[in-house]
Protein backbone atom coordinates (compact mmCIF):
# COMPACT_ATOMS: atom_id res chain seq x y z
CA UNK A 1 0.00 0.00 0.00
CA UNK A 2 1.39 3.37 -1.04
CA UNK A 3 1.20 6.43 1.15
CA UNK A 4 2.49 9.93 0.79
CA UNK A 5 4.06 11.55 3.84
CA UNK A 6 3.76 15.30 3.91
CA UNK A 7 6.25 16.94 6.23
CA UNK A 8 5.10 20.09 7.93
CA UNK A 9 7.46 22.59 9.49
CA UNK A 10 6.55 24.98 12.27
CA UNK A 11 7.97 28.45 12.87
CA UNK A 12 9.63 27.30 16.10
CA UNK A 13 11.22 24.35 14.33
CA UNK A 14 12.56 26.53 11.51
CA UNK A 15 13.92 29.00 14.06
CA UNK A 16 15.57 26.28 16.13
CA UNK A 17 17.16 24.87 13.00
CA UNK A 18 18.42 28.32 11.98
CA UNK A 19 20.13 28.90 15.32
CA UNK A 20 21.81 25.49 15.47
CA UNK A 21 25.59 25.29 15.37
CA UNK A 22 27.05 23.60 12.29
CA UNK A 23 27.82 20.55 14.44
CA UNK A 24 24.26 20.31 15.77
CA UNK A 25 22.90 20.74 12.27
CA UNK A 26 25.19 17.98 11.07
CA UNK A 27 23.82 15.69 13.78
CA UNK A 28 20.25 16.53 12.82
CA UNK A 29 20.96 15.69 9.19
CA UNK A 30 22.69 12.47 10.29
CA UNK A 31 19.60 11.42 12.26
CA UNK A 32 17.42 11.96 9.18
CA UNK A 33 19.92 10.06 7.03
CA UNK A 34 19.82 7.15 9.49
CA UNK A 35 16.03 7.13 9.34
CA UNK A 36 16.11 7.16 5.54
CA UNK A 37 18.66 4.32 5.57
CA UNK A 38 16.66 2.29 8.05
CA UNK A 39 13.53 2.45 5.90
CA UNK A 40 15.34 2.55 2.57
CA UNK A 41 13.45 -0.46 1.25
CA UNK A 42 10.12 1.24 1.89
CA UNK A 43 10.95 4.69 0.56
CA UNK A 44 10.22 5.97 -2.93
CA UNK A 45 10.30 9.41 -4.44
CA UNK A 46 10.48 12.47 -2.29
CA UNK A 47 11.84 15.97 -2.02
CA UNK A 48 12.81 18.49 0.60
CA UNK A 49 11.46 21.90 -0.37
CA UNK A 50 13.31 25.18 -0.04
CA UNK A 51 12.16 27.59 2.67
CA UNK A 52 8.67 29.13 2.34
CA UNK A 53 10.21 32.54 1.53
CA UNK A 54 11.22 31.17 -1.86
CA UNK A 55 7.68 30.10 -2.76
CA UNK A 56 5.53 31.75 -5.41
CA UNK A 57 1.78 31.27 -5.50
CA UNK A 58 -0.50 31.51 -8.51
CA UNK A 59 -4.21 31.80 -7.67
CA UNK A 60 -6.32 30.61 -10.54
CA UNK A 61 -9.90 31.01 -9.43
CA UNK A 62 -10.29 34.62 -10.58
CA UNK A 63 -10.65 36.06 -14.04
CA UNK A 64 -6.88 36.50 -14.29
CA UNK A 65 -4.20 34.44 -12.56
CA UNK A 66 -2.88 36.32 -9.54
CA UNK A 67 0.79 35.84 -8.72
CA UNK A 68 1.94 36.45 -5.17
CA UNK A 69 5.19 36.13 -3.32
CA UNK A 70 5.13 33.44 -0.63
CA UNK A 71 3.37 30.15 0.10
CA UNK A 72 -0.29 29.46 -0.65
CA UNK A 73 -1.20 29.06 2.99
CA UNK A 74 0.23 31.87 5.06
CA UNK A 75 0.47 30.28 8.44
CA UNK A 76 2.75 29.01 11.15
CA UNK A 77 2.77 25.52 9.66
CA UNK A 78 4.14 25.05 6.18
CA UNK A 79 4.66 21.95 4.04
CA UNK A 80 8.41 21.42 3.87
CA UNK A 81 8.72 18.17 1.96
CA UNK A 82 7.18 14.89 1.05
CA UNK A 83 8.04 11.28 0.61
CA UNK A 84 6.37 8.32 -0.98
CA UNK A 85 6.39 5.10 1.07
CA UNK A 86 5.32 1.56 0.35
CA UNK A 87 4.15 -0.29 3.48
CA UNK A 88 1.64 -2.97 4.45
CA UNK A 89 -0.92 -0.70 6.04
CA UNK A 90 -1.53 2.54 7.87
CA UNK A 91 -0.23 1.12 11.15
CA UNK A 92 3.12 0.42 9.61
CA UNK A 93 3.16 3.93 8.15
CA UNK A 94 2.39 5.30 11.62
CA UNK A 95 5.20 3.28 13.17
CA UNK A 96 7.63 4.68 10.64
CA UNK A 97 6.46 8.21 11.18
CA UNK A 98 6.75 7.95 14.96
CA UNK A 99 10.49 7.47 14.53
CA UNK A 100 10.84 10.41 12.16
CA UNK A 101 13.57 12.65 13.60
CA UNK A 102 12.93 15.78 11.47
CA UNK A 103 10.16 18.34 11.46
CA UNK A 104 7.48 18.09 14.15
CA UNK A 105 4.40 17.32 12.03
CA UNK A 106 3.73 14.66 9.43
CA UNK A 107 0.55 14.07 7.49
CA UNK A 108 -0.04 10.66 5.94
CA UNK A 109 -2.26 10.46 2.89
CA UNK A 110 -2.95 7.73 0.36
CA UNK A 111 -2.23 8.85 -3.19
CA UNK A 112 -5.06 8.68 -5.67
CA UNK A 113 -2.87 7.32 -8.40
CA UNK A 114 0.76 7.20 -9.24
CA UNK A 115 0.74 9.25 -12.38
CA UNK A 116 4.34 8.55 -13.14
Amino acid sequence: MKYVLMFVETEEFAERFRTMSPAERGQAFARVDRWLAEYADKIGNGAKLASPETATTVRLDGAEPIITDGPFVEGKEIVSGFLEIEVADLDEALRMVRDWPGCPIVEIRPPEAMER
Binding site: A50, S51, E53, T54, A55, T56, I67, T68, D69, G70
Partner: protein
Protein backbone atom coordinates in the same frame (compact mmCIF):
# COMPACT_ATOMS: atom_id res chain seq x y z
CA UNK B 1 45.24 66.96 -11.84
CA UNK B 2 41.59 67.62 -12.39
CA UNK B 3 39.64 69.82 -10.04
CA UNK B 4 38.12 67.47 -7.40
CA UNK B 5 34.84 69.36 -7.50
CA UNK B 6 34.61 68.78 -11.27
CA UNK B 7 35.30 65.12 -10.63
CA UNK B 8 32.59 64.93 -7.98
CA UNK B 9 30.13 66.47 -10.43
CA UNK B 10 31.20 64.05 -13.15
CA UNK B 11 30.88 61.07 -10.80
CA UNK B 12 27.43 62.21 -9.65
CA UNK B 13 26.37 62.63 -13.25
CA UNK B 14 27.74 59.21 -14.17
CA UNK B 15 25.89 57.75 -11.19
CA UNK B 16 22.59 59.12 -12.41
CA UNK B 17 23.13 58.14 -16.03
CA UNK B 18 25.18 55.02 -15.69
CA UNK B 19 24.55 53.13 -12.46
CA UNK B 20 21.96 50.78 -13.97
CA UNK B 21 24.09 50.13 -17.02
CA UNK B 22 27.20 49.35 -14.98
CA UNK B 23 25.29 47.15 -12.55
CA UNK B 24 23.39 45.25 -15.22
CA UNK B 25 26.59 44.48 -17.13
CA UNK B 26 28.46 43.55 -13.95
CA UNK B 27 25.64 41.32 -12.65
CA UNK B 28 26.05 39.11 -15.68
CA UNK B 29 29.76 38.68 -15.06
CA UNK B 30 29.38 38.33 -11.30
CA UNK B 31 26.30 36.11 -11.52
CA UNK B 32 25.46 37.41 -8.09
CA UNK B 33 23.63 40.63 -7.31
CA UNK B 34 25.46 41.37 -4.07
CA UNK B 35 28.87 40.97 -5.65
CA UNK B 36 27.80 43.09 -8.61
CA UNK B 37 26.55 45.85 -6.32
CA UNK B 38 29.77 45.82 -4.38
CA UNK B 39 31.93 46.00 -7.51
CA UNK B 40 29.96 48.88 -9.00
CA UNK B 41 30.06 50.73 -5.70
CA UNK B 42 33.83 50.29 -5.63
CA UNK B 43 34.17 51.46 -9.23
CA UNK B 44 32.45 54.74 -8.35
CA UNK B 45 34.66 55.16 -5.29
CA UNK B 46 37.72 54.47 -7.44
CA UNK B 47 36.61 57.06 -9.99
CA UNK B 48 36.72 59.80 -7.35
CA UNK B 49 40.45 59.17 -6.89
CA UNK B 50 41.40 58.10 -10.38
CA UNK B 51 39.75 60.88 -12.29
CA UNK B 52 41.38 63.57 -10.16
CA UNK B 53 44.78 62.08 -10.94
CA UNK B 54 44.29 61.07 -14.56
CA UNK B 55 41.49 63.18 -15.87
CA UNK B 56 37.82 62.45 -16.52
CA UNK B 57 37.47 59.80 -19.24
CA UNK B 58 35.63 60.67 -22.41
CA UNK B 59 32.85 58.22 -21.67
CA UNK B 60 32.78 57.87 -17.91
CA UNK B 61 30.05 55.21 -17.82
CA UNK B 62 32.06 52.84 -20.01
CA UNK B 63 35.08 53.41 -17.75
CA UNK B 64 33.04 52.60 -14.65
CA UNK B 65 31.44 49.55 -16.25
CA UNK B 66 34.78 48.13 -17.27
CA UNK B 67 36.31 48.64 -13.85
CA UNK B 68 33.28 47.09 -12.12
CA UNK B 69 33.25 44.12 -14.48
CA UNK B 70 36.97 43.50 -14.02
CA UNK B 71 36.60 43.57 -10.28
CA UNK B 72 33.78 41.09 -10.54
CA UNK B 73 35.85 38.83 -12.77
CA UNK B 74 38.76 39.05 -10.34
CA UNK B 75 36.51 38.19 -7.43
CA UNK B 76 34.99 35.31 -9.28
CA UNK B 77 38.43 33.90 -10.11
CA UNK B 78 39.84 34.58 -6.69
CA UNK B 79 37.06 33.25 -4.53
CA UNK B 80 35.70 30.66 -6.85
CA UNK B 81 32.27 32.10 -6.21
CA UNK B 82 31.77 31.13 -9.79
CA UNK B 83 31.46 27.54 -8.76
CA UNK B 84 29.03 27.98 -5.91
CA UNK B 85 26.93 30.68 -7.53
CA UNK B 86 26.93 29.43 -11.06
CA UNK B 87 23.20 28.77 -11.17
CA UNK B 88 22.44 32.43 -10.59
CA UNK B 89 21.46 34.65 -13.42
CA UNK B 90 22.64 32.11 -15.89
CA UNK B 91 22.16 32.60 -19.55
CA UNK B 92 23.72 31.70 -22.79
CA UNK B 93 27.35 32.76 -22.89
CA UNK B 94 27.26 32.93 -26.64
CA UNK B 95 24.96 35.93 -26.47
CA UNK B 96 27.22 37.99 -24.29
CA UNK B 97 28.83 40.86 -26.10
CA UNK B 98 32.03 42.12 -24.56
CA UNK B 99 31.36 45.77 -24.34
CA UNK B 100 34.82 47.20 -24.09
CA UNK B 101 34.92 50.54 -25.75
CA UNK B 102 38.33 50.66 -27.37
CA UNK B 103 38.59 54.40 -27.79
CA UNK B 104 37.91 54.83 -24.09
CA UNK B 105 40.88 53.01 -22.82
CA UNK B 106 43.78 55.05 -23.99
CA UNK B 107 46.83 54.23 -21.92
CA UNK B 108 46.85 57.45 -19.94
CA UNK B 109 43.33 56.86 -18.67
CA UNK B 110 43.77 53.27 -17.77
CA UNK B 111 47.04 53.90 -15.99
CA UNK B 112 44.91 54.97 -13.09
CA UNK B 113 42.96 51.78 -12.85
CA UNK B 114 42.64 51.25 -9.13
CA UNK B 115 42.91 47.50 -8.95
CA UNK B 116 45.62 46.17 -11.23
CA UNK B 117 44.86 42.68 -12.32
CA UNK B 118 46.38 40.07 -14.52
CA UNK B 119 44.56 40.02 -17.78
CA UNK B 120 43.39 36.58 -18.70
CA UNK B 121 44.03 35.12 -22.08
CA UNK B 122 41.76 36.68 -24.62
CA UNK B 123 40.94 39.66 -22.48
CA UNK B 124 42.36 42.98 -23.56
CA UNK B 125 45.07 44.15 -21.22
CA UNK B 126 44.69 47.49 -19.55
CA UNK B 127 45.60 50.18 -21.97
CA UNK B 128 45.43 48.03 -25.04
CA UNK B 129 42.48 48.86 -27.18
CA UNK B 130 40.48 45.74 -27.89
CA UNK B 131 40.27 46.16 -31.60
CA UNK B 132 37.42 44.52 -33.37
CA UNK B 133 35.22 44.41 -30.28
CA UNK B 134 31.86 46.11 -30.37
CA UNK B 135 32.44 49.53 -28.92
CA UNK B 136 29.05 50.77 -27.81
CA UNK B 137 28.80 52.94 -24.78
CA UNK B 138 25.21 51.84 -24.28
CA UNK B 139 23.97 48.25 -24.29
CA UNK B 140 20.28 48.83 -23.61
CA UNK B 141 19.20 45.23 -23.13
CA UNK B 142 21.36 44.90 -20.06
CA UNK B 143 19.39 47.50 -18.14
CA UNK B 144 16.10 46.17 -19.39
CA UNK B 145 16.98 42.74 -18.01
CA UNK B 146 17.72 44.28 -14.67
CA UNK B 147 14.45 46.20 -14.61
CA UNK B 148 12.42 43.09 -15.47
CA UNK B 149 14.28 41.13 -12.81
CA UNK B 150 13.55 43.71 -10.10
CA UNK B 151 9.87 43.92 -11.09
CA UNK B 152 9.30 40.18 -11.38
CA UNK B 153 5.76 39.33 -10.24
CA UNK B 154 7.04 36.49 -8.03
CA UNK B 155 8.52 39.18 -5.75
CA UNK B 156 6.33 41.14 -3.35
CA UNK B 157 5.57 44.60 -4.67
CA UNK B 158 7.30 46.42 -1.83
CA UNK B 159 10.39 44.35 -2.58
CA UNK B 160 10.05 45.17 -6.27
CA UNK B 161 10.05 48.88 -5.47
CA UNK B 162 13.01 48.62 -3.11
CA UNK B 163 15.07 46.48 -5.49
CA UNK B 164 14.35 48.81 -8.40
CA UNK B 165 15.52 51.81 -6.39
CA UNK B 166 18.64 50.01 -5.20
CA UNK B 167 19.70 48.13 -8.32
CA UNK B 168 18.37 50.27 -11.15
CA UNK B 169 18.63 53.73 -9.61
CA UNK B 170 21.57 53.07 -7.28
CA UNK B 171 19.85 54.60 -4.24
CA UNK B 172 21.49 53.47 -1.00
CA UNK B 173 19.63 51.09 1.29
CA UNK B 174 19.71 53.75 3.99
CA UNK B 175 17.98 56.29 1.75
CA UNK B 176 15.42 53.75 0.57
CA UNK B 177 14.63 52.88 4.18
CA UNK B 178 14.18 56.56 4.98
CA UNK B 179 11.95 57.05 1.94
CA UNK B 180 9.61 54.28 3.03
CA UNK B 181 9.82 55.32 6.68
CA UNK B 182 11.37 52.02 7.73
CA UNK B 183 14.47 51.26 9.73
CA UNK B 184 17.56 50.46 7.72
CA UNK B 185 17.84 46.87 9.06
CA UNK B 186 14.20 46.21 8.13
CA UNK B 187 14.75 47.46 4.60
CA UNK B 188 18.05 45.58 4.30
CA UNK B 189 16.34 42.37 5.44
CA UNK B 190 13.56 42.86 2.91
CA UNK B 191 16.07 43.24 0.10
CA UNK B 192 18.20 40.32 1.25
CA UNK B 193 15.14 38.13 1.30
CA UNK B 194 14.15 39.20 -2.21
CA UNK B 195 17.65 38.58 -3.54
CA UNK B 196 17.69 35.20 -1.86
CA UNK B 197 14.48 34.29 -3.58
CA UNK B 198 15.85 35.42 -6.95
CA UNK B 199 18.70 32.97 -6.44
CA UNK B 200 16.87 30.07 -4.80
CA UNK B 201 13.83 30.12 -7.05
CA UNK B 202 15.98 30.96 -10.07
CA UNK B 203 14.14 33.99 -11.32
CA UNK B 204 15.54 34.49 -14.81
CA UNK B 205 17.69 37.46 -15.77
CA UNK B 206 16.20 38.24 -19.12
CA UNK B 207 13.72 40.36 -21.00
CA UNK B 208 10.44 38.44 -21.28
CA UNK B 209 9.41 37.11 -24.66
CA UNK B 210 6.70 38.68 -26.79
CA UNK B 211 3.92 36.52 -25.34
CA UNK B 212 4.57 37.50 -21.73
CA UNK B 213 5.67 41.04 -22.44
CA UNK B 214 2.33 42.85 -22.00
CA UNK B 215 1.81 41.41 -18.50
CA UNK B 216 5.39 41.82 -17.42
CA UNK B 217 5.64 45.33 -18.81
CA UNK B 218 2.50 46.32 -16.99
CA UNK B 219 4.13 45.09 -13.75
CA UNK B 220 7.16 47.31 -14.46
CA UNK B 221 4.97 50.31 -15.28
CA UNK B 222 2.98 49.60 -12.11
CA UNK B 223 6.11 49.72 -9.96
CA UNK B 224 7.29 52.99 -11.50
CA UNK B 225 3.83 54.50 -11.15
CA UNK B 226 3.59 53.36 -7.53
CA UNK B 227 7.01 54.87 -6.75
CA UNK B 228 5.76 58.10 -8.27
CA UNK B 229 2.44 58.19 -6.44
CA UNK B 230 4.16 57.22 -3.19
CA UNK B 231 6.40 60.23 -3.69
CA UNK B 232 3.74 62.51 -5.12
CA UNK B 233 1.34 62.06 -2.24
CA UNK B 234 3.40 60.51 0.49
CA UNK B 235 1.02 58.02 2.13
CA UNK B 236 1.89 59.24 5.60
CA UNK B 237 4.10 61.79 7.26
CA UNK B 238 4.43 65.52 7.31
CA UNK B 239 5.39 66.54 3.77
CA UNK B 240 3.00 66.01 0.87
CA UNK B 241 5.69 65.27 -1.67
CA UNK B 242 8.85 63.18 -1.36
CA UNK B 243 10.65 64.67 -4.29
CA UNK B 244 13.46 62.11 -4.34
CA UNK B 245 10.95 59.36 -5.14
CA UNK B 246 9.21 61.50 -7.75
CA UNK B 247 12.55 62.24 -9.41
CA UNK B 248 13.56 58.57 -9.41
CA UNK B 249 10.22 57.55 -10.92
CA UNK B 250 10.63 60.14 -13.68
CA UNK B 251 14.19 58.97 -14.25
CA UNK B 252 12.98 55.37 -14.54
CA UNK B 253 10.17 56.28 -16.92
CA UNK B 254 12.63 58.14 -19.15
CA UNK B 255 15.06 55.25 -19.03
CA UNK B 256 12.30 52.83 -19.99
CA UNK B 257 11.25 55.02 -22.89
CA UNK B 258 14.81 55.04 -24.13
CA UNK B 259 15.00 51.24 -23.79
CA UNK B 260 11.57 50.44 -25.23
CA UNK B 261 11.01 53.25 -27.71
CA UNK B 262 8.03 51.60 -29.42
CA UNK B 263 5.83 50.83 -26.42
CA UNK B 264 2.95 53.30 -26.33
CA UNK B 265 2.12 52.54 -22.72
CA UNK B 266 5.64 53.57 -21.77
CA UNK B 267 5.04 56.94 -23.46
CA UNK B 268 1.73 57.12 -21.63
CA UNK B 269 3.33 56.52 -18.25
CA UNK B 270 6.06 59.09 -18.86
CA UNK B 271 3.45 61.61 -20.01
CA UNK B 272 1.28 60.91 -16.97
CA UNK B 273 4.19 61.45 -14.59
CA UNK B 274 5.31 64.62 -16.42
CA UNK B 275 1.92 66.26 -16.48
CA UNK B 276 1.17 65.33 -12.87
CA UNK B 277 4.54 66.51 -11.66
CA UNK B 278 4.25 69.77 -13.64
CA UNK B 279 2.01 71.00 -10.80
CA UNK B 280 4.43 70.04 -8.03
CA UNK B 281 5.30 73.63 -7.05
CA UNK B 282 1.69 74.73 -6.68
CA UNK B 283 0.04 71.83 -4.90
CA UNK B 284 0.57 73.29 -1.45
CA UNK B 285 0.71 76.87 -0.25
CA UNK B 286 3.58 78.42 1.69
CA UNK B 287 2.30 76.81 4.90
CA UNK B 288 2.23 73.38 3.30
CA UNK B 289 -1.56 73.42 3.03
CA UNK B 290 -3.00 71.35 0.21
CA UNK B 291 -4.54 73.43 -2.58
CA UNK B 292 -7.37 72.25 -4.77
CA UNK B 293 -6.81 72.19 -8.52
CA UNK B 294 -8.97 75.28 -8.94
CA UNK B 295 -6.95 77.19 -6.33
CA UNK B 296 -3.55 76.44 -7.85
CA UNK B 297 -1.58 79.13 -9.67
CA UNK B 298 -1.54 77.85 -13.24
CA UNK B 299 1.10 80.36 -14.28
CA UNK B 300 3.60 78.44 -12.13
CA UNK B 301 2.95 75.08 -13.72
CA UNK B 302 5.84 73.61 -15.66
CA UNK B 303 4.73 74.35 -19.22
CA UNK B 304 7.71 72.58 -20.79
CA UNK B 305 6.78 69.33 -19.00
CA UNK B 306 3.12 69.73 -20.00
CA UNK B 307 4.14 70.30 -23.63
CA UNK B 308 6.43 67.26 -23.61
CA UNK B 309 3.59 65.18 -22.20
CA UNK B 310 1.22 66.55 -24.80
CA UNK B 311 3.40 65.32 -27.67
CA UNK B 312 3.75 61.89 -26.09
CA UNK B 313 -0.01 61.63 -25.65
CA UNK B 314 -0.77 62.71 -29.23
CA UNK B 315 1.55 59.98 -30.47
CA UNK B 316 0.18 57.51 -27.95
CA UNK B 317 -3.43 58.03 -28.99
CA UNK B 318 -2.53 57.21 -32.59
CA UNK B 319 -2.63 53.72 -34.00
CA UNK B 320 -5.04 51.39 -32.28
CA UNK B 321 -6.82 51.57 -28.97
CA UNK B 322 -4.81 53.34 -26.33
CA UNK B 323 -3.87 51.63 -23.06
CA UNK B 324 -4.59 52.80 -19.55
CA UNK B 325 -1.53 54.97 -19.07
CA UNK B 326 -2.04 56.85 -22.31
CA UNK B 327 -5.68 57.47 -21.33
CA UNK B 328 -4.81 58.54 -17.80
CA UNK B 329 -2.18 60.88 -19.20
CA UNK B 330 -4.69 62.30 -21.69
CA UNK B 331 -7.13 63.02 -18.85
CA UNK B 332 -4.46 64.65 -16.69
CA UNK B 333 -3.30 66.64 -19.66
CA UNK B 334 -6.77 68.04 -20.35
CA UNK B 335 -6.92 69.27 -16.75
CA UNK B 336 -3.47 70.82 -17.10
CA UNK B 337 -3.97 72.47 -20.47
CA UNK B 338 -7.19 74.32 -19.63
CA UNK B 339 -6.47 78.05 -19.29
CA UNK B 340 -8.62 78.10 -16.15
CA UNK B 341 -10.31 75.43 -14.06
CA UNK B 342 -13.77 76.51 -15.23
CA UNK B 343 -12.68 76.13 -18.84
CA UNK B 344 -11.68 72.48 -18.40
CA UNK B 345 -13.07 70.30 -21.18
CA UNK B 346 -15.25 68.15 -18.92
CA UNK B 347 -17.19 66.31 -21.64
CA UNK B 348 -13.94 65.21 -23.27
CA UNK B 349 -12.57 64.09 -19.90
CA UNK B 350 -15.73 62.09 -19.25
CA UNK B 351 -15.40 60.39 -22.66
CA UNK B 352 -11.82 59.43 -21.85
CA UNK B 353 -12.91 58.08 -18.46
CA UNK B 354 -15.57 55.97 -20.15
CA UNK B 355 -12.89 54.51 -22.40
CA UNK B 356 -10.51 54.01 -19.47
CA UNK B 357 -13.17 52.26 -17.40
CA UNK B 358 -13.85 49.90 -20.27
CA UNK B 359 -10.27 48.65 -20.48
CA UNK B 360 -9.51 48.98 -16.78
CA UNK B 361 -12.62 48.42 -14.70
CA UNK B 362 -11.17 49.62 -11.42
CA UNK B 363 -13.35 51.12 -8.69
CA UNK B 364 -10.79 53.91 -8.26
CA UNK B 365 -11.21 54.87 -11.92
CA UNK B 366 -14.99 54.73 -11.47
CA UNK B 367 -14.68 57.09 -8.49
CA UNK B 368 -12.49 59.56 -10.36
CA UNK B 369 -14.93 59.45 -13.25
CA UNK B 370 -17.69 60.75 -10.97
CA UNK B 371 -15.76 64.01 -10.57
CA UNK B 372 -16.00 64.69 -14.31
CA UNK B 373 -19.53 63.38 -14.31
CA UNK B 374 -20.59 65.95 -11.70
CA UNK B 375 -19.37 68.70 -14.03
CA UNK B 376 -21.14 67.35 -17.09
CA UNK B 377 -24.35 65.95 -15.62
CA UNK B 378 -24.51 67.67 -12.23
CA UNK B 379 -23.66 66.57 -8.67
CA UNK B 380 -26.91 64.64 -8.17
CA UNK B 381 -26.14 62.00 -10.76
CA UNK B 382 -22.52 61.83 -9.69
CA UNK B 383 -23.56 61.32 -6.07
CA UNK B 384 -25.77 58.39 -7.08
CA UNK B 385 -22.75 56.73 -8.68
CA UNK B 386 -20.53 57.42 -5.68
CA UNK B 387 -23.13 55.88 -3.39
CA UNK B 388 -23.32 52.85 -5.62
CA UNK B 389 -19.54 52.46 -5.38
CA UNK B 390 -19.81 52.83 -1.62
CA UNK B 391 -22.38 50.04 -1.47
CA UNK B 392 -20.19 47.77 -3.61
CA UNK B 393 -17.69 47.98 -0.75
CA UNK B 394 -14.50 47.60 -2.79
CA UNK B 395 -13.32 51.05 -1.79
CA UNK B 396 -13.89 50.63 1.95
CA UNK B 397 -11.01 52.35 3.71
CA UNK B 398 -10.14 54.50 0.69
CA UNK B 399 -10.31 58.06 1.98
CA UNK B 400 -10.91 59.67 -1.42
CA UNK B 401 -14.38 58.12 -1.59
CA UNK B 402 -15.85 59.99 1.41
CA UNK B 403 -13.85 63.07 0.30
CA UNK B 404 -15.45 63.06 -3.16
CA UNK B 405 -18.84 62.32 -1.62
CA UNK B 406 -18.44 65.17 0.85
CA UNK B 407 -17.69 67.62 -1.93
CA UNK B 408 -20.78 66.54 -3.89
CA UNK B 409 -23.00 66.77 -0.80
CA UNK B 410 -21.61 70.23 -0.10
CA UNK B 411 -22.50 71.34 -3.61
CA UNK B 412 -25.99 69.95 -3.14
CA UNK B 413 -26.32 72.00 0.04
CA UNK B 414 -26.54 68.95 2.30
CA UNK B 415 -24.23 70.43 4.90
CA UNK B 416 -24.69 67.89 7.70
CA UNK B 417 -24.20 64.90 5.43
CA UNK B 418 -21.15 66.60 3.95
CA UNK B 419 -19.66 67.14 7.41
CA UNK B 420 -20.18 63.46 8.22
CA UNK B 421 -18.43 62.42 5.01
CA UNK B 422 -15.51 64.80 5.68
CA UNK B 423 -15.12 63.25 9.11
CA UNK B 424 -15.02 59.78 7.56
CA UNK B 425 -12.40 60.91 5.08
CA UNK B 426 -10.38 62.52 7.86
CA UNK B 427 -10.38 59.29 9.83
CA UNK B 428 -8.99 57.39 6.86
CA UNK B 429 -6.40 59.87 5.54
CA UNK B 430 -2.82 59.36 6.73
CA UNK B 431 -0.93 62.19 5.10
CA UNK B 432 -0.78 65.32 7.27
CA UNK B 433 -1.28 67.79 4.41
CA UNK B 434 -4.34 65.90 3.24
CA UNK B 435 -5.66 65.66 6.78
CA UNK B 436 -5.25 69.40 7.27
CA UNK B 437 -7.05 70.02 4.00
CA UNK B 438 -9.96 67.80 4.99
CA UNK B 439 -10.10 69.29 8.46
CA UNK B 440 -10.27 72.78 6.94
CA UNK B 441 -13.09 71.75 4.63
CA UNK B 442 -14.89 70.23 7.59
CA UNK B 443 -14.46 73.42 9.60
CA UNK B 444 -15.89 75.45 6.72
CA UNK B 445 -18.97 73.25 6.75
CA UNK B 446 -19.56 73.65 10.41
CA UNK B 447 -20.60 76.77 12.22
CA UNK B 448 -21.19 77.72 15.81
CA UNK B 449 -19.27 77.34 19.07
CA UNK B 450 -20.09 73.67 19.44
CA UNK B 451 -17.97 72.82 16.44
CA UNK B 452 -14.63 74.56 16.64
Amino acid sequence: MTDPSDVRTAVADAHRRGWALALAATARVARDLDLAEECVQEAYAAALVSWVRDGIPKTPVAWLTTIAKRRAMDAVRREQVFRSKLPLLVESEAMEPEEFAPEEFAANEMAGEPAPHQPAAGEPAAGEPALGEPGDDVVPDERLRLIFLCCHPALAQDAQMALTLRLVCGVSTRDIARTFLLSEPTMAARMTRAKKKITAARIPYRVPGAAELPDRLSAVLGVIHLLFTTGHTAPSGAALVRSDLVDQALHLARMLRELMPDEREVWGLLALLLVTDARRATRVDTQGRLLRLEEQDRSRWDRAAIAEAHDLIVDGLRGGRPGRYVLQAAIASLYAEAPAYEQTDWPQILTLYDELLRIWPSPVVALNRTVAMARVHGPMRALAEVEELERAGQLAGYHYLPAVKADLLRRLGRTNDAALAYRQALELAQNDAERDFLAARLAERLAGPDHP
